[in-house]
Symmetry: C2
Subunit: 221 residues, 2 copies
């Protein structure tokens, strides 16, 4: 054999999923070495010592976000193909992944065959997206992805949005930001307009759904 079989790096903080994917990938005749990393730093360390044709990546990692890691990979190892393996079907995540140029996307619910298929497709130089995402991609292309709220918001609008999501009302927000009520109402109106919603509930739900504000923080013991 004159050339090496392609090496694959798996990055996921869930040990079980790591094991699962490893099991599947190692069973493929076209794949060579399979390395594991359970965090961003481990992944980076692994990438320094070796070139991986394909990196299968989880987006939620303990240290860096999968998105940041993706940027790093693109710089450190621009020729590596990246497959995102995600739990999340939320639109903003999908959009971001596609925008950042992932070579493939699979869901964690993907079965053995889908992972194999994704790997083969990507190794072949093509892009792989599971069926669920293809419809989303099509839709994004159609309307030019007009719903990129995050980057559409100004800093101040974001401040107000977060405050609203925390349950504060206009007067309280004005106090906490040291501006007048009128100002906050102005930002409010911008938000309604940008999100195309009629009231705070719709606004907050849409913001959560698009990953601009998060629930997690509220839910700690």
């Amino acid at each position: 054999m004159e050339y090496e079989k392609p090496a694959v790096l798996l990055v996921d903080d869930h040990a079980l999923i790591l094991q699962g994917i490893k099991f599947v990938v190692e069973g493929m005749s076209e794949i060579g070495e399979v390395c594991l990393a359970s965090s961003g730093v481990e992944a980076i360390r692994a990438m320094k010592s070796k070139f991986f044709q394909v990196i299968i990546l989880d987006i939620e990692l303990p240290d860096v976000s999968g998105f940041e890691l993706m940027e790093i990979i693109r710089h450190m190892s621009p020729d590596s193909r990246i497959i995102i393996n995600t739990m999340h079907e939320e639109t903003w995540i999908v959009k971001k992944m596609i925008r950042m140029g992932a070579d493939g996307i699979t869901l964690k619910s993907a079965n053995t065959e889908e992972i194999r298929s994704a790997l083969k497709t990507v190794l072949n130089g093509e892009k792989f997206f599971c069926d669920e995402f293809n419809s989303i991609r099509k839709m994004l292309r159609l309307n030019g992805d007009t719903n990129d709220y995050q980057s559409l918001l100004t800093k101040r609008e974001l401040d107000v949005l977060k405050a609203i999501s925390a349950g504060l009302q206009t007067k309280e927000i004005a106090e906490s930001l040291h501006v007048s009520v009128n100002t906050v109402e102005s930002h409010r109106k911008s938000l309604f307009s940008k999100f195309q919603v009629r009231n705070v509930v719709e606004l907050v739900v849409k913001a959560i759904d698009n990953g601009i504000v998060h629930l997690k923080s509220r839910n700690k013991f």
Copy 2:
């Protein structure tokens, strides 16, 4: 050997996790047969043909919820120990799992050793909870778990809550439920009171956070 090694049933719709756990469990000398099920019906079918000492269960399944399946297991096979393996650290899920009497709880981020440890502990007749949950349990005992919103709500209140979360306002809700505005306002007040919140935003956020209303439905293409 005079007695059978205990059989284990793994239920999870994520093929990769199924593979991962299987790999770990099969490597344990104290475990006998390991069976897999990727849905509630498959799990039930498996349980009909065989008794499993331990059932490791995901709470999000395509057909029935893990909670419902847990009820079914308790009836079909009351002597089976149940370990919940979950992605979710949200309080309401943890509470519900504990209340329903799970014998063990592990996170999907659990490593190989934790799964083994959980299995051994449960087989030994004890309960296993990963560190993250022990603190929650302690806390729940302390304040008598006063925050069980879901079971606290009446059907109508739930209707109104869902409508509110969908961004509808009182008048619209009244129309859609075919009742007067006054009635809806009455339910509203009950909700505010039960959730101990001051406005709809806090209400909706808390409801989402406690798993009473969900974002998913809104986020489809």
